[in-house]
């Protein structure tokens, strides 16, 4: 009979399970600079729980992006985008399981900010492949996400600037102007207007990722008799710092538009707090009722049940961890022809972009990560 007392809680604990192991390993390899190994670990998302599939697609999408495998990254991120749309429903199974166990057993649907950044990286991928029509499709989908969660996402200036750029690339200046006006309002500036095209010159557009986005940690409060409140909060991240760019020996002063991804993610999580706090309250009530029900028949059983239910309470700290802490869009106007550039960010290393061929009246895109 003793085995039932052991097997059941172990089974439930396994159900609530920790995050899929390949994801953790892949993240670790990514930040150690072993991008190929990180990509290999997430091959086909094998070993990743079905509930974490979105995370797998998002992490793999970023890994492939920084491997400069933009086509493959696009393929994976499009799957993430489709999954987000498919999850746009309240699942009875998920909700009922979460009420007795914890939020980690639910299918990961992505924070509002992460849902936007799937489109952000897709836009970047398409622009880097000179697929401007597809980039604009993603831009329009990003606008739909902005419209859905305006309060949470208004701090993401990078994505807004990217959308404006997509409109410019499709020769839709009025739509671009509207986005620049919104951007100026969000940034508290009077006007944002990129340099107009000049004969004999072209543009280099850099997407610069810096640091790593903050991860979620658990913030716990214990209340008598055995209620544990465990909510996710974002730890401190690394906001973007100004970048210094030199071309052919000269320091440049280009237009830079940055987003602190940690700040946007925190706002996004705060705006979703009503959801998980309501679920937390319902769960605390349900767990208390279960413990009392067991206690009606057996006091030791109640103690045991309370201990298990207390241990089961765990904040959902899953998040997209390979995201940079900051994203900066840099627009550099250069003479047509070949250029060598040095890009430095704060105290970190200097990246070199050599042999960048700028076409007259055209744009060249590059993505970098510090």
């Amino acid at each position: 009979m003793m085995k039932f007392r052991i097997i059941l809680p172990v089974f439930i604990l396994l159900l609530s399970g920790c995050s899929s192991l390949p994801l953790q390993k892949a993240r670790s390899e990514f930040y150690s600079g072993n991008l190929n190994q990180a990509d290999y670990l997430l091959e086909g998302c094998k070993g990743v729980s079905e509930k974490d599939l979105l995370l797998c697609y998002m992490e793999k999408g970023i890994i492939l992006h920084y491997m400069e495998a933009y086509e493959e990254s696009t393929e994976v991120l499009l799957k993430a985008s489709q999954l987000i749309k498919a999850h746009d429903q309240i699942s009875v199974t998920d909700q009922s399981t979460a009420v007795v166990i914890n939020d980690r057993v639910m299918t990961y649907k992505g924070e509002y900010s992460e849902r936007l950044w799937v489109h952000t990286f897709l836009m970047m991928n398409y622009l880097l492949q000179a697929k401007y029509e597809d980039a604009l499709v993603e831009g329009k989908q990003a606008l739909e996400v902005y419209d859905k969660y305006p309060g949470s996402l208004s701090g993401d200036h990078f994505t807004r600037a990217l959308i404006a750029l997509c409109f410019e690339d499709m020769n839709l200046p009025d739509d671009a102007r509207i986005e620049y006006e919104k951007l100026a309002a969000e940034m508290g500036r009077e006007k944002i207007s990129p340099e107009p095209a000049v004969p004999g010159k072209g543009e280099l557009i850099l997407f610069i990722g810096q640091g790593r986005a903050p991860t979620k940690v658990s913030s716990d409060v214990a209340l008598p008799p055995s209620i544990r409140i465990s909510v996710p909060v974002y730890a401190d991240g690394s906001p973007p710092v100004s970048v210094s760019i030199r071309s052919d020996g000269n320091t440049l002063d280009p237009l830079e538009i940055s987003t602190d991804l940690g700040q946007v993610a925190r706002k996004s999580l705060d705006d979703r707090s009503a959801q998980y706090l309501t679920r937390q309250a319902v769960r605390a009530g349900a767990k208390e009722a279960i413990a009392e029900k067991v206690g009606d028949k057996n006091e030791i059983g109640e103690l045991f049940a309370r201990a298990i239910l207390f241990l089961l309470e765990e904040a959902d700290t899953r998040s997209w961890e390979t995201l940079p802490g900051g994203l900066t869009l840099v627009r550099i106007t250069l003479d047509k022809g070949v250029h060598d550039l040095e890009i430095s960010s704060g105290n970190s290393q200097t990246l070199h972009l050599n042999g960048i061929d700028i076409p007259e009246g055209g744009r060249i895109y590059r993505s970098l990560r510090f």
Binding site: M1, M2, F4, R5, I7, L8, F11, L78, D88, Q89, I90, S91, V92, T93, E133, D134, L136, V137, K140, Q141, L143, E144, M170, L172, V294, K297, N298, E299, I300, G301, F304
Partner: protein
Amino acid sequence: MGCGLKRVLIYKGDSIMQKIFIRFIIMMTCSALLIMTGCMASTKNLNPKNETHYDASYDFSDKNKIVERLVTPLLAAPAFPVQTKPILIVYPVVNETSEHISTDGITDAITTKLQQSGRFRFIDKSQRDNIQKETNYQSQGYVDPAMRVQQGKQLGADYILGGTLRSIKKDQPEQMRLFKKERIYYSLDLSITDLKTGEIVYKDTAELAREASKPIIGW
């Protein structure tokens, strides 16, 4: 006495745990069976001419409808008398919607229908590089001079055929509801421009609007 009470309590505790465990196993087995029956694979052929929509977004039925709607009046347009057989060059339909739609499929379908009508002739822009490669090869001395394709004999287009696909999407506002409604309006503008004068000599629009709803709560 105390030892006996403890044994009874342990026995009762075990019995409750056993009941919970058995119920849990039954619930998991039923769920697994339900999932397995729901996952049985099936395949069937569909008639591409029949209208089939799973949601409000653009699909192959829409393509057929739009192409039919645009081509039929164009074939009867007085701007292109039957005897003239104008030469068209086709530029791909531009996708300005918020969906990844392969507009090449629309362009190809319009071209096919117009070409099959025998009222228009077409220049294949996509084969220009290959034509150049092939004619260059022929002029390098490998091909019998009598059989060489003479350069400078390609047809010049009279008109440019192009179009733009646009969409306007509207979601039902957030409120207490059981179903989420979505409305999408699509329009495809087709235009034919005279290459000599730059004048738009023909313009038409095909429109379609659809509403779809899906439950907010699911399994």
